[in-house]
Symmetry: C2
Subunit: 311 residues, 2 copies
């Protein structure tokens, strides 16, 4: 039986797994992304990692799918300028193909997570689905008419849709992007601003404040932290309302560490969706589901890409 390899290149870890043609994971491995620096050393470790999970008989390997942070060019197979990895216009598809002699496909991590959730996870059976991942940033991928939608190759950047062009704290770099107001970084920024403004909060005791600190403080009853989570959920709901009026999908699938906050985030999100939607058709019957595949979503998506499900 033929197999494929899915590769997920993150800022800290590179992971690879072998899958059978039924998208079942057979074997997995991981290595640190950085460590010994330079593109050549990262690529060398990546090839070793792939070889580690490759089938003993090379003829059994049908292809490799690779997910990486954007911006990247999936058609040319080039990783352009990701913020956390020293790739710089690196032709990764050609490099891996030359080393491993099998078809290699590349796409960005959020697109592949969307593909995986649609094929195997929370979005199964839907025709149109918006995947959002709220973590440090805000990533997304679109399934439209049953297929991963790419536009001219880089579409699906809901994190950079502008929902708060006039946000008072948004400087010339942030532009009121959804990511600026509805992400883990947004939570941490609001907390820092609240402390600087002299608000009474347990967060004032911390040297640097993370989104997780704020979530924990909210859970422990800190009213300032609770307001911050509420505000973040509200902006997430504004984004969802906006996307719903534009794309009116069958469902939204929400992943990422920030969604672990749960109801404290989701309640204001649903309230904002109802408040901002011009008509109930933009929220009634539209499910908002939590992602189902957890940390392995990138590996499953990369394998699905290798199996040709990426369109």
């Amino acid at each position: 039986m033929s197999s494929v390899i899915g590769v997920d290149i993150g800022g800290t870890q590179m992971r690879a797994a072998r899958f059978n043609s039924g998208l079942e994971m057979i074997e997995r491995a991981s290595r640190p992304t950085l460590g010994e620096q330079g593109v050549d050393s990262i690529v060398a470790r990546l090839i070793e990692l792939i070889e580690q999970v490759a089938p003993e008989d090379p003829s059994e390997l049908a292809g490799i799918g690779v997910g990486a942070p954007g911006p990247l060019d999936p058609d040319a197979g080039i990783i352009r300028t990701p913020p956390n990895i020293p790739f710089h216009h690196t032709p990764l598809v050609d490099i891996l193909h030359d080393a491993l002699h099998v078809p290699v496909l590349l796409d960005n991590d959020a697109n592949l997570a969307a593909l995986a959730e649609h094929r195997l996870g929370a979005g199964q059976g839907t025709q149109n689905m918006v995947y959002l991942t709220l973590s440090t940033g805000l990533g997304s991928g679109l399934i439209l008419n049953g297929e991963l939608y790419r536009g001219r190759g880089q579409a699906g950047e809901a994190g950079f849709t502008i929902i708060a062009a006039d946000h008072p704290a948004s400087g010339p770099e942030q532009h009121g992007y959804a990511e600026f107001v509805a992400s883990g970084t947004a939570i941490a920024r609001r907390a820092t601003e609240a402390v600087q403004a002299g608000k009474q909060t347990t967060l004032a005791e911390l040297d640097t404040i993370t989104g997780e600190d704020v979530a924990n403080a909210a859970e422990a009853g800190d009213p300032v932290a609770q307001t911050i989570i509420r505000e973040t959920g509200r902006y997430a709901g504004i984004l969802i309302a906006s996307l719903s009026m534009l794309l009116q999908p069958d469902c939204f699938v929400l992943g990422g560490s920030v969604t672990q906050i749960g109801d404290r985030l989701f309640e204001p999100m649903h309230e904002a969706l109802r408040e901002f939607a011009i008509d109930p058709v933009f929220y009634e019957g539209i499910d908002i589901r939590q992602a189902a595949l957890g940390d392995d979503v990138g590996l499953y998506g990369a394998a699905a890409l290798a199996l040709g499900y990426g369109g």
Copy 2:
């Protein structure tokens, strides 16, 4: 040769035209939408209007396409609650089918304009196209993967995507919708606000100010009017940046009376697009074109729908 009829129901005029199967217009007619009030009288005038352009031999009529303002339900054939026409959950498709005994299809006017511009106008040959019409409001329609995209039936409302959630003048009804900051109504509102704030402008002499008044004053050199047009163009550019990062279409097609302002609107629009886009892939190679079909765009779109081009 078989023919179809396209019908365009607007707030002031109902128009109908017969087309051959090559989408050439053969004959046209129009009537006022309102006048004698009530849904029944509007429907009676509409049927008379359609009969006026119908072929002499009824067997030659293959179908009727109808465009109307939303919100409406294209699958059920029901016009729901348009703001300017006294239809109220009116099952127009069933009514016309019962009266005229041919297949009747319904969709919203902006979707049909998008379809027409894609088939016959400025968007010909593109795979993914966003149509925006800036007039009193801000309408839109999406062509994705070569087909009109409808989501669950009502998608494509870019005018209600939220781009300025924190706009200082946006009350609880306006929600920072794109339509609130980038439409003819937005231009008129800004002018009224400027006059109320005591700004030096020729617009202060007018009792009520329309978007056209502001455009004329800008053309005549009024600096306040010029700033208002510039600000409106900037928000249109923010909307386009947002849509480009989400959908990365091959082109945007811009129609509607506000676009007649020309460069004074388009220059700040392009500037904002470049400022807000996170990467040149979201504006380089993406055409922004003016709509080509003028006032007849709704008739052409309705005929295209009747001919089965609506997917």
